[in-house]
């Protein structure tokens, strides 16, 4: 009897701990959301309060009323979409042959992708700046897309390679038996089967670009500036303008969080399975 009783207490304790832990992790972001909903004057009140006394959209109106932030959001969106498309076009075919037609060169290629993931952004940023300058692509969407794709492609390659591992070679053989060329088999038979894997890879490429800061800081100055750069500039331009800063931080991060919550099962699978398989 006592044993069962002790186990119950143990279970309650574990549940309580887990809940406490989860809540304490969510708390900072909830506070950010609460702060953005305060009237601008209350944001920096001393002592600070967790919940707003009155709910106000003043901070959101301020940042959306300027020309800079909406334009930066548009830039971010365009860059992220183009980066995603380009990364998929480059990585999906390569990952396919790298896993289904294994030979020394494809193994070497995947190893190169892996090493590329270790390269610090700042080390590549320095020469990329010079390269884009030579090509006349500094402060352009094209230039930033190229830079972001160079980070997204290795990630997309490794993710897609892991997904293609699960496909039996017989699938392509069967398609070829029916008279498809290798390329037709890939385009018409294999790709449709890989829809969900491609979707997850696309999402990760998108987020890689959407969240990226250092390249955007180095390689853009005015017309191609993305959202994180503009948000960071509230630091210096407006001194300590915490109100607009929290509002733009919410606008910038909430869409990604909502998408994540909706697709969380697939995303967490994508994030963790590479590591666990290793």
């Amino acid at each position: 009897m006592t044993d069962v009783y002790q186990r119950d207490i143990g279970k309650v304790m574990i549940n309580a701990f887990a809940l406490l832990l989860v809540l304490s992790y969510a708390l900072p972001y909830v506070y950010l959301l609460m702060t953005s909903l305060k009237p601008a004057a209350d944001v920096q009140q001393i002592p600070p309060r967790f919940f707003p006394e009155t709910i106000s959209l003043e901070n959101f109106n301020t940042v959306l009323g300027t020309a800079t932030l909406p334009k930066a959001f548009l830039n971010s969106l365009v860059v992220a979409i183009l980066t995603t498309v380009l990364s998929l076009v480059l990585a999906v075919p390569a990952a396919y042959v790298a896993t289904q037609y294994r030979r020394p060169i494809t193994v070497l290629f995947l190893l190169f992708a892996l090493i590329t993931r270790m390269v610090p952004a700042v080390s590549l940023g320095v020469p990329l700046f010079q390269l884009l300058k030579t090509l006349g692509l500094l402060d352009t969407t094209t230039g930033l897309v190229l830079a972001h794709t160079s980070t997204a492609v290795p990630l997309a390659l490794l993710l897609m390679a892991a997904f293609f591992e699960g496909i039996p070679k017989e699938l392509e053989d069967a398609a070829r038996m029916d008279g498809c060329t290798r390329f037709q088999a890939f385009a018409k038979i294999i790709l449709p089967v890989m829809k969900s894997g491609i979707a997850i890879t696309a999402l990760f490429s998108f987020i890689t670009s959407w969240n990226e800061f250092l390249y955007a800081l180095l390689l853009t100055s005015e017309s191609a500036k993305t959202a994180p750069i503009v948000i960071a500039e509230y630091n210096s331009v407006y001194g300590l303008a915490w109100g607009p800063m929290t509002a733009s931080a919410i606008l910038y991060s909430l869409p990604v969080i909502i998408v994540t919550l909706v697709l969380q099962k697939q995303i967490i699978g994508g994030l963790t399975f590479g590591a666990v398989k290793g």
Partner: protein, 292 residues
């Protein structure tokens, strides 16, 4: 041989792309590191051999920023790992009912780093940082002004890591959780029947089986922590008095603020080599986990 042509055609676009945008810049980086050259006028250059490397290796500011990178990474990694692993054990203990816990816990995972940095700066900063009011309320400190997280020169390199810990504990937790659920139940049951208590079961069964997962987590997060730029930049821009300047920030400053492309390239090349060697050693250990 049609097969080989197919392989080449499918590989070619990404090989060309990575060649132009990764391999070529790396060569350019190494090339630049042997020259005295300024960021705004890369066409005017003078060969100086290994001088940039010698300068980088003897500069106190660079050595300090390198040491700070180690302090930051070790501190962040330690807490991320302890918190994340404990969370994973908790979630595994309540198994099926942990679905919602894990969903909420995964939230920081998708927060952009600069938002996490801003958020934590807001929690810690001067008079309005709510954390110190919380600590005062809990009776841990006497006055909210007692701890100056972001302006205390000795403390700042650890304070800026809070955002990192908050942001990536979830990654450690979710990966560890996935690893824990892969451990066969009957192994643990067998140990229980043999009379091993909970601590012994953890130490002799769970932990050894989790070794590969732990190693991957430590490498992936270790590399990321050492590369950190945006998270710290947004909180302090390296201040006060460069006391939170890590290595990547030092490279950025020398290239952009001081316009010294040659020296920045030499440090960036050194950084690259150290990261690849460290990751290589670590991967080697994982690939051959049986060789103790």
């Amino acid at each position: 041989m049609a097969e080989n042509r197919f392989v080449c055609l499918m590989l070619a676009p990404s090989v060309l792309f990575l060649g132009l945008l990764v391999a070529y810049p790396v060569c350019l980086l190494v090339f630049n590191s042997f020259y005295e050259v300024e960021t705004i006028t890369p066409h005017i250059r003078e060969w100086v051999g290994l001088k940039n490397y010698a300068d980088a290796l003897t500069s106190k500011r660079i050595a300090d920023s390198g040491w700070r990178t180690v302090q930051y990474s070790v501190f962040a990694l330690f807490f991320e790992f302890v918190f994340g692993f404990c969370a994973a054990l908790l979630f595994a203990a309540i198994a099926d009912k942990s679905q919602w816990h894990r969903t909420i816990f995964a939230l920081p995972l998708m927060v952009p780093p600069i938002v996490a940095g801003l958020l934590w700066r807001f929690l810690l900063v001067g008079q309005i940082g709510i954390l110190n009011y919380g600590l005062t309320g809990a009776g841990l400190i006497d006055d909210p002004g007692d701890i100056k997280w972001l302006s205390d020169a000795d403390l700042v390199i650890y304070s800026v890591a809070f955002a990192d810990i908050w942001l990536t504990t979830s990654f450690v937790a979710l990966v560890s959780y996935a690893g824990l659920t892969n451990i066969p139940k009957d192994l643990i049951e067998a140990a229980r029947i043999d009379g091993a208590n909970a601590l012994n079961r953890f130490w002799h069964v769970t932990l050894p089986l989790m070794r590969p997962v732990i190693a991957v987590v430590l490498i992936v997060r270790g590399v990321d922590a050492a590369k950190t730029f945006d998270l710290i930049w947004i909180q302090t821009q390296g201040g006060p008095r460069n006391k939170s300047e890590v290595f990547s920030m030092n490279i950025y400053q020398r290239m952009v603020r001081f316009g010294d492309l040659g020296e920045a390239s030499a440090s960036a090349a050194l950084f690259l080599i150290v990261m690849i060697v460290l990751a290589g050693i670590a991967y080697w250990k994982i690939w051959r986990p049986s060789h103790d």
